[in-house]
Amino acid sequence: MNTAAGACFHCGEALPAQPPRMVVDDVPRDFCCPGCATAAQWIRDAGLAQYYTLRQSNPARSTESGDDFAEWLHPDIVSAHVQAVAGGLEITVAVRELRCAACAWLIDRFLVRLDASVDVSANAATSRVRLRWNPQRIALPVLLQQMAALGFAPTLAGSPAQQREEQRQHRRELLRLGVAGLGAMQAMMFAEALYLDTAGQMAPATRDFLRWTAVLLSTPVVFYAGWPFIAGLLRDLRRGALSMDLLAGSAILLAYAASLIETLRGGAHIWIDAAVMFVFLLLAARQLEAWARRRARARTEALAQAVPAFASREGSDGSTQRVPVTQVRAGDVLRVAAGEALPADGVLLDAPAALDESLLSGEALPQRREPGERVLAGSSCGDAPLRLRVSQAGAATQLAALVRLVDQAQAQRPQLARLADRVAAWFIGGLLAAAALTFVLWWPTDPTRAFEIMLAVLVVSCPCALSLAVPAALAAAQDSLARLGVLVLRADALDTLARVDVLLLDKTGTLTTSKSQLREVSLYSSHDRAQVLQLASALQAGATHPLAAAFAEAANEPLAVSDWRRVAGQGVQASFAGHSYRLGRAEFAVGGADDGAVWLGDGRKPFARFGIGQHLRADAAAMAQALRAQGVQLELASGDAAAAVAEIAEALGIAQFRARQSPPDKLARARELQAQGRVVAMLGDGINDAPVLAGANVSFAFAEGAVTTHRAADFLLTGSSLLRVPEAIAIARRTRRIVRQNLAWALAYNALALPFAAAGWIAPGLAALGMTTSSLLVVLNALRLRRVKT
């Protein structure tokens, strides 16, 4: 991704009026802040400027903030995360910004230059970096500081034991698939040779030799690669349940056992090809799905963590100490630096503070809290540091309660999935009964053929194509969605997505960017527009007010004001060139009634009125249009005030909107629509949306949003483009069409072949061939989904 003009060359954020400038690759580049410029300078001076041409996504804005990572040397952290390895120590950290291979390359190259003992392996697929270093030569905090300075701030990853387990599992699955593929190919070569002997002219010795080889080769395929199916069969037998594993496992084992017996006694046929083909194809379909899922999960885990891993705790003597957040107890006094997230719920001390609670409440603008007021974990501190006395920590916080709410909402959902399981169980039970009946009916007339015919029925009817019809299409659809930047967290949600006819939207942060924007300026005096903006900007400069940024962008030359003073809850006042100015709410600045706008005045006389609005995302209108073309109705449900919501709704042509909606209200609205028979999709990003995300039929969340929403969502948008939603719906509808074609084909094939097999007209080999052709057809049909216009 090459950075657009007017954006920071390093991180892609908007440029200030006078950006720092530096030459990279012989071209002068602009940066948003000195931090990014420094990062780029390091990258250039280290001879790594190639990063900028290779990368596919931007890193975070670099900060020069003084996090020294010294707390990573805390004994609790060291014992839980750091391991001793040959030649030093090892830690695995999660890096949220690590999204493309070029970032991984940059981190790798940059850290290795610091000290020869450092060994880095950065994995873009899982957003993890494994660091190995020699503690005698370089300290861990130095390495972490360097990563943070590059714009890749490390956070604690999950426990090392869990990571090792995941890696072990991944490798085990890969080995199973590889063994199944290689073994099945070779075993089928010999089975094919046996089939080609249609006239039975092969010498018995040659035939038995080939049979023994085929059986030998298929043994690891069946018992090692096919173990998941056999284990599933055993589990089903123990619990008395019926699942696809029961059918697949019994067909595999029967085909293998019968082939072995026939080889031993020199019978007419062996069916080893049916067994190995079954194992390989089913395993491949399952693995594709499992890997897509794991990839999505690894990414979400590394994303924004609402609660930080460390907190600064104040000791009784007034000194502060960085401690892991798990050690924070009620009654502790914590310090939170500007821009950091609050580690626990508590009561604000000392001074008022502006807190960004958008994740918790859905309010876009930072909220002002007075000393003594309650502040919540997960909200982030504004421009000034604050102190708080912890009232609840860990699982007792409001954030944790919301997470539990999500869990409950999720537990109610998969009724449809359970129904599908029950239907499948009946289907499989019916097939097993049909196979058994065939055997019983054939036994009196022709005992020599009874087993062969039963096996043919089992193989022919075993819904291999049927079982592949859905997963193959889902895996292909997931693949194309992932390439678009839509991660599928719950595969069966694709079917629901295709049926969606209402999309509930959350305004805050979903349709708008988090920055507030100066909408309109009305003048009431001889001052012109530039002057009032300059004045407002100067007055706001010292304030932590959230609107300060809106003015700062509009004016470029700061004025020097004196006697600056803030009036709590009202606004600011200051003197400039002998005049006193006030900026803030109407009753404070101009003596009028509050109308939600910001006024500039001298206390009585108004000079200007500033309408502050939220900035609509560039592609919101295009999304609304695309969705309407798909026949999806749009509805807004926001926690914001009526005026703001109505404005957005009008801009997008949305007729239905609700303002001041609490999470239970939004959930009730979703339930109401569902009661009318509508299929509801929800797009949200705040923790307050999490219950609705879980309660809606299908839901989208932004990867940048809160982690709790990821757990509730079915789809995760990794980019910020809203157009991905209609695109995902289009793919889901194509997927549904292909799944239907596949199911129709597989069912028709099974229905046709079953009577023939039961009548004894199809040999197991032929049944296996037909089954494979049928399976191949559905897989190829499913792969059409991978063609995606990007």
Partner: protein
């Protein structure tokens, strides 16, 4: 057909070698990250003298 007595065991041995190589590659972490490696081939070390 006696040739089969030689050729079939050879094919089985080759299969064993292929599976062995695959197991070695998976255990060695060759398949853990398939995204980063393809890019590294594009990146020249601009200062080979720095390499130690």
């Amino acid at each position: 057909m006696t040739m089969l007595l030689l050729l079939v065991p050879i094919s089985v041995l080759l299969l064993g070698a292929a599976i062995g190589a695959f197991v070695w590659a998976v255990r060695g972490g060759q398949f853990d990250d398939l995204d980063t490696a393809p890019l590294q081939i594009l990146a020249d070390d601009p200062n080979p003298s720095d390499a130690d």
